[in-house]
């Protein structure tokens, strides 16, 4: 276990009684949980349980019909995704959402966007201070490329990369923003064992070295039980369990949800 020496702090993000519906479909009902500083929280649940919707509410793509999100002590009902990103929340997507026509380096540089301070006019003209700033960001991007061991593909358009590497580049883009909270939507989906091991290692390294708080969705139970400090289980848009991996593993309603026991 990696949790021994880690200082898990106060709640960084609180989800309070969030409900979300699309027309007649209730995606989330009255879900509450918290993500604590420096921890790795896994959100699991069967397909259609509302996991991705939950991440989308947190990063502002969806606005909850009811309830609130409290991030760093500040409550918000509605917030633009770009503003959420500026407040230190980065994410990856279930279906890779990279900028396919751009190189690995450029993709990671876009991740630096929230850290760029010169205004647009300066950047457009690209002289003096704006240029220096660009160089500084470039150095940061290279650090991330080294960290993720993707030096060899830094000039390759990401559309041409194999799936596993694309996932890694996407993680790199999220890391480039130096996030406080990193949301990973199925970071290991569709990977082979070796790729999964690499990805696990990177996630743990990010958590330990940078102290980044991570909330991730994952289907591979082996991985979830291995790397997470806490697990939240969703089923049909409701939270049915919340606790350490061991607690959740023994929870009867979780077993029922996964094995499909009839709900009386």
């Amino acid at each position: 276990m990696v949790t021994d020496h880690k200082q898990i702090g106060e709640a960084l993000l609180q989800v309070n009684n969030v409900s979300l519906s699309f027309g007649a479909v209730q995606a989330l009902s009255d879900v509450s949980f918290e993500v604590r500083e420096h921890e790795i929280l896994a959100i699991i649940g069967p397909n259609g349980a509302g996991k991705s919707s939950m991440l989308n509410v947190i990063n502002g793509f969806y606005t909850a019909n009811e309830g609130s999100i409290v991030y760093k002590g500040i409550s918000r009902a509605k917030m633009e995704p770009a503003d959420v990103a500026r407040n230190g929340v980065s994410r990856t997507f279930q279906n890779i959402a990279l900028f396919r026509g751009m190189t690995t380096l450029d993709n990671i540089m876009t991740g630096r966007n929230t850290k760029m301070h010169r205004n647009f006019i300066w950047q457009a003209i690209y002289i003096g201070p704006a240029r220096n700033e660009e160089l500084e960001h470039r150095r940061k991007a290279e650090e991330i490329i080294d960290f993720l061991e993707i030096q060899a593909i830094r000039k390759t358009p990401v559309g041409r990369l194999p799936y596993g590497l694309q996932k890694r580049v996407e993680l790199g883009r999220a890391l480039a923003a130096e996030p406080e909270l990193l949301l990973l939507d199925e970071p290991m989906a569709g990977m082979n064992t070796e790729e999964k091991e690499d990805m696990c290692r990177f996630i743990l390294d990010v958590n330990e070295e940078f102290g980044t708080t991570i909330a991730l969705i994952e289907h591979d139970m082996g991985v979830v039980m291995d790397i997470s400090d806490r697990v939240v289980v969703l089923d049909y848009g409701r939270k049915i369990a919340d606790g350490s991996p061991d607690e959740v593993r023994g929870n009867q309603s979780v077993i029922d949800a996964y094995l499909g026991v009839s709900r009386e």
């Binding site: 900028f99 450029d106 690209y126």
Partner: protein, 319 residues
């Protein structure tokens, strides 16, 4: 049999008999093609960045050049006139983002497209209201240093005529494309714009503000519209019938691919050359006026066999 001869052997014979004339036709076609490419460029930029097919691009072109000419005619210098037109187009972009695009965020593309049709009609009325609809205006070519003469280039005992205006248009287009390429590839804003073009959601998730990007890209398209408007206006006169020229951009876009700047250039050149050659060598056999429909038929053929265009992204459906 006569017909067969006139569509197959006869054009080839004509080309072989007078190759210099053929070269002249090709050159004229290329020059016309550059003008088509310029129009299509504005569409392409906006489509890339926001997925919106901007039906109002043609009207924006006319508005830009009208603004410029009106200021010049009022007795101000040409530089001031250009500057005012640029500011006008940037202001227009802010207004369009605020009034049209922002309330339509996350709507399906077709809704945005319909909105731009509305915008086109509104802008045409608005433009006629401000700049006057009836009177035709002339682009001050002398003040802009655009020559009106033809250059004669001797070749193989004959000579080739080139309009200075066409040459200017070609140089302008080349400069414009080079500047845009630098802007998109080398600057932070350019990178953000490419990111927005690739994936809206991902762009938002890294904190790229979609609204500012839209204003920027519409402004750039507005400036391209100004250059295009000046070129087209100089070759005839400036009035709202110029809007119809924008129709020629559709086949260019279908040929080149909606999302590709090089595609737009190549597409424009192919159509320009194609219709001139078709008109002159096949015109008589096929009943003339080929120039009117050639581009559209070519676009139809492309839609059947290569719907993504020459340089467009291949459409792959996940099943």
């Amino acid at each position: 049999m006569d017909f067969l001869y006139s569509v197959t052997a006869d054009p080839v014979l004509q080309i072989v008999e007078d190759p210099v004339f053929f070269l002249q036709i090709i050159l004229e076609g290329l020059m016309a093609g550059v003008m088509y490419s310029l129009v299509a460029l504005g569409f392409c930029l906006i489509y890339k960045a926001s997925g919106v097919f901007n039906f109002a691009q043609g009207v924006m072109m006319v508005l830009a050049v009208m603004c410029m000419v009106t200021v010049y005619d009022a007795g101000f210098g040409i530089l001031l006139a250009l500057l005012v037109a640029m500011v006008f187009m940037v202001g227009l972009s802010f207004a369009i983002e605020r009034v049209v695009l922002r309330p339509m965020v996350n709507q399906p593309q077709i809704i945005l497209f319909m909105a731009t049709i509305g915008l086109a009609f509104f802008l045409e009325g608005f433009g006629e209201f401000i700049f006057g609809g009836s009177s035709q205006k002339i682009v001050p070519t002398e003040a802009l240093h655009i020559g009106r003469d033809a250059l004669l280039i001797p070749m193989f005992g004959s000579e080739i005529r080139l309009q200075q205006l066409d040459l200017t248009a070609g140089v302008c287009a080349a400069l414009l494309v080079a500047t845009l390429a630098l802007f998109f590839q080398k600057t932070t804003v350019g990178r953000a714009l490419r990111a927005v073009a690739d994936d809206h959601q991902a762009a938002l998730s890294v904190g790229i503000p979609l609204r500012s990007m839209w204003v920027i890209v519409w402004s750039v398209a507005g400036l391209v519209a100004l250059v295009t408007g000046i070129m087209w206006g100089a070759s005839s006169s400036v009035d709202f019938s110029l809007v119809l020229i924008a129709m020629k951009a559709f086949p260019v876009l279908i040929l080149g691919g909606f999302t590709s700047v090089p595609g737009v250039i190549v597409g424009g050149l192919i159509i320009g050359v194609g219709e001139k050659v078709a008109e002159l060598y096949w015109g008589d056999a096929l009943g003339g006026s080929i120039e009117e429909w050639f581009a559209y038929v070519l676009a139809l053929v492309f839609l059947m066999f290569r719907p993504q265009g020459l340089f467009g992204e291949k459409i792959i459906e996940r099943v």
